[in-house]
């Protein structure tokens, strides 16, 4: 079994901490992993992406081939659309739907939503609002990870929770709890979608 995931967003939004959690869970549970990151100039308010590959067998390429990504996890709606050539025919997109506008020619919100609506599986939610509602505005990326969790499949939701505990443990129990709460809220958002409640 293998899962190819594209993580994306805008520099500074915290996609790499999502990668760190998944990486911790994958390593602990004996999966092969490769994760190609973007460093340097592109971090400064530009688009950023990371190719994350998980597998029960040896992985060769650090990059995901076109039409192979099982999942796009995006911190920003327009950014989720930038990588569609990588998305597999049955792939899913899990994205924040709150735009990050730092360029003059940012497209109309409705146009972005329309493009997203054409894709077979999309979970889109305002993760920043959700995190604020949970009184934990800095945990928005954990809401997103929670939303993605049911689609990662190669790792169980409980395994991801354990990884969050491990990674945040040195910051104290309050931080661990806040991140777990955000993660669980994200999982609930996707489960409602999967059960057809929304």
């Amino acid at each position: 079994m293998k899962k190819d995931i594209i993580l994306c967003g805008v520099g500074g939004q915290g996609i790499l901490s999502i990668a760190t959690i998944i990486g911790e869970a994958a390593t602990k549970n004996g999966l092969y992993l490769k994760q190609a990151e973007v460093h340097g100039m592109s971090q400064r308010g530009g688009d950023v992406q990371s190719h994350l590959r998980l597998s029960t067998d040896v992985i060769y390429s650090d990059l995901i081939p076109y039409a192979s990504a099982d999942l796009i996890i995006s911190m920003e709606p327009m950014e989720s659309l930038r990588y569609l050539t990588w998305l597999a025919a049955d792939g899913a997109v899990v994205t924040n739907n709150k735009p990050f506008v730092n360029i003059p020619d940012y497209p109309e919100h409705a146009d972005v939503q329309e493009e997203l609506a054409k894709l077979p599986t999309v979970v889109s939610f305002d993760i920043e609002q959700e995190a604020r509602d949970l009184m934990s505005p800095r945990s928005a990326n954990m809401v997103l990870l929670g939303m993605a969790a049911p689609y990662i499949e190669i790792l169980a939701i409980a395994q991801l929770r354990t990884a969050i505990e491990t990674i945040f443990s040195r910051k104290g129990q309050a931080v661990v709890d806040a991140n777990l709460k955000a993660f669980d809220a994200g999982v609930a958002i996707s489960m409602r979608k999967i059960k057809g409640e929304v």
């Binding site: 308010g45 076109y66 050539t85 329309e114 493009e115």
Partner: protein
């Protein structure tokens, strides 16, 4: 034990575990994390391994050569264009030879993710006539460091290790071994004095070693043939990381010659050619191996690669363009979306460079013609909207010397913008030229007290810039310091105008800490305070 490591981190840990005594480097994407890892590593700290940043790649290379002369293992790290900066020292280190193992790490950037060209460092190893290693994955990157030091000591030559961005900045699990001890101080008994008479002898010795280097590559465990096809077909030469893209596409099939150690072993290439009807060379970067294979096999042998268009002539390899060259390209499932705008990188909100460009654009707009010559750093982004301020960005330090040349030709105002770290890297000597020539230029050293673009490493000139400028002979009344903040705009623009109108060399130093490092320093201070409670 397994550890999850970036390619860069695997190199760093491999070097530490191989008994490294010093890393010498100037920050440059995608090589920076190697030195940063060594700076933070517990064992490296305990052993007191040298890891402080150097002023530039040339001083780094020379210091490493000195450590090698004293018998210890040294590593020099840089991005590919750093090889140009240290080329004098590097090429001559092949003539002197080495004593303690010396590895020169060059991180190439095909597709120019964060660079101004995509030069291939394998040419440098061939030019200097020394061995080169090119890992295909993180595990090899780790394992190769020990092998590279051993090879360097065996041949008494520096060994180049070349990686590309996709390996440097990709993470995977790596099996690590027990660290070996550092080498003791053992100062070389020979003298490395490259006077012509001695250099001629040394050069002849280097030529004599060439067959030995090729034998080493031919029997290296990092190079191997994997013959899975039973019938004659396409033989694939897969160099470094290209091996992964070939394996991604072909799985367990294919007649592959994996190349990760150079000089290119002629015998293995000839064997592959004899066993197949044609050869495809897959290599990231420039067609270095392809050209050599053409020479080995002659014009009549069917050869495919970057030169004839089976692979793109420019840009990095991807699993997709390699699959295409192997005849099994995929069709995409979704067309690119229409409503996606480009999102280029930008100067941070609140960054002092922004205030510098605002002031410069405002003042210079009052002159009929002018140019601002830029340099390499975050402030290169001043070339993009909304500032569109720069006429050039070429190489480290070129802002000052290009402004000088243009002023010599009669351009006025001729302005240079350079960062503090770039100034001490390669700007100081150019400023000396300008002073000696009394050139009519205005130099803005935008001092954010750090090497910002690569993530906030220490800058060699911090607290020394005024003294350096005065020492180089800039007149004291024309070395001006300002604080780049919007509220200071009237003062900054007044001083800029005064100095532009001064017919000679003036230096303006807008100084305010990078907001990213300032935030980091605040976090560190807070943490320290909490720990001391």
């Amino acid at each position: 034990m397994k550890r999850l490591l970036l390619g860069d981190e695997a190199i760093a840990l491999g070097a530490i575990h191989a008994g490294l005594s010093g890393v010498y480097a100037y920050p440059g994407t995608p090589s920076t994390e190697i030195t940063e890892f060594i700076q933070a590593d517990a064992l490296a700290r305990e052993r007191g391994i040298h890891s402080r940043w150097c002023a530039n790649e040339k001083t780094a290379m020379e210091a490493a050569l000195g450590m090698s002369y004293a018998g210890k293992r040294a590593l020099v790290c840089m991005k590919h264009v750093g090889m140009n900066v240290c080329a004098d020292a590097f090429v001559n280190s092949a003539i002197t030879g080495v004593h303690g193992g010396l590895v020169v790490l060059a991180a190439d950037d095909p597709s120019m993710h964060s660079s101004q060209n995509e030069q291939d460092s394998r040419f440098y190893a061939k030019f200097a006539m020394v061995p080169l290693m090119e890992p295909s994955n993180q595990q090899e990157a780790y394992d190769m460091m020990a092998a590279a030091f051993e090879l360097s000591e065996k041949l008494h030559e520096p060994v180049v290790m070349r990686v590309v961005t996709r390996l440097a900045h990709s993470r995977a699990a790596v099996d690590v071994v027990e660290p070996t001890n550092e080498k003791p101080l053992d100062v070389c008994a020979e003298r490395w004095v490259l006077l012509p008479g001695i250099a001629r002898k040394r050069y002849a010795e280097l030529i004599e070693k060439q067959p030995l280097m090729e034998i080493e590559a031919s029997k290296s465990n990092f190079n191997r043939k994997e013959t899975k096809g039973s019938e004659k077909s396409v033989g694939i030469i897969a160099c470094g990381i290209a091996y992964n893209y070939v394996k991604e596409t072909l799985g367990e099939s294919g007649n592959i010659l994996k190349i990760s150690q150079y000089p290119l072993p002629t015998d293995l290439v000839k064997q592959l050619a004899a066993e197949n009807d044609e050869i495809l060379v897959v290599e990231d970067g420039q067609p270095v191996v392809e050209e050599q294979v053409r020479g080995i096999l002659g014009a009549g042998y069917p050869l495919k690669g970057r030169l004839n268009g089976d692979l793109p002539r420019t840009g990095e390899l991807t699993p997709d363009n390699v699959a295409q060259a192997l005849g099994v390209g995929k069709t995409i499932a979704f067309q690119p979306a229409k409503h996606v705008a480009a999102r280029p990188p930008q100067l941070c909100q609140g960054c002092g460079h922004r205030d510098v460009y605002t002031a410069l654009n405002q003042v210079l707009a009052t002159y009929p013609d002018y140019r601002i010559f830029g340099d390499i750093g975050c402030y290169t982004l001043g070339a993009l909207p909304p500032f569109k301020a720069l006429a050039s960005c070429v190489d480290m330090g070129a802002s000052i010397t290009m402004a000088k040349g243009a002023a010599d030709a009669g351009l006025f105002p001729s302005v240079a913008v350079i960062g503090d770290s770039t100034f001490t890297h390669s700007g100081m000597t150019g400023l000396l030229d300008a002073v000696n020539d009394k050139s009519n230029i205005t130099v803005v050293i935008s001092d954010n007290l750090t090497t910002g673009m690569t993530g906030g490493q220490d800058s060699a000139g911090t607290n020394k810039l005024e003294a350096i400028c005065l020492g180089l002979g800039v007149e004291p009344e024309h070395v001006r310091v300002v604080v780049p903040l919007p509220k200071n705009m009237p003062e900054i623009t007044r001083i800029l105008k005064e100095e532009i109108d001064y017919p000679g060399v003036s230096v303006i130093i807008p100084r305010r800490e990078c907001i990213q490092t300032a935030a980091r320093h605040a976090r560190e201070a807070k943490k320290l305070k909490e720990e001391n409670k």
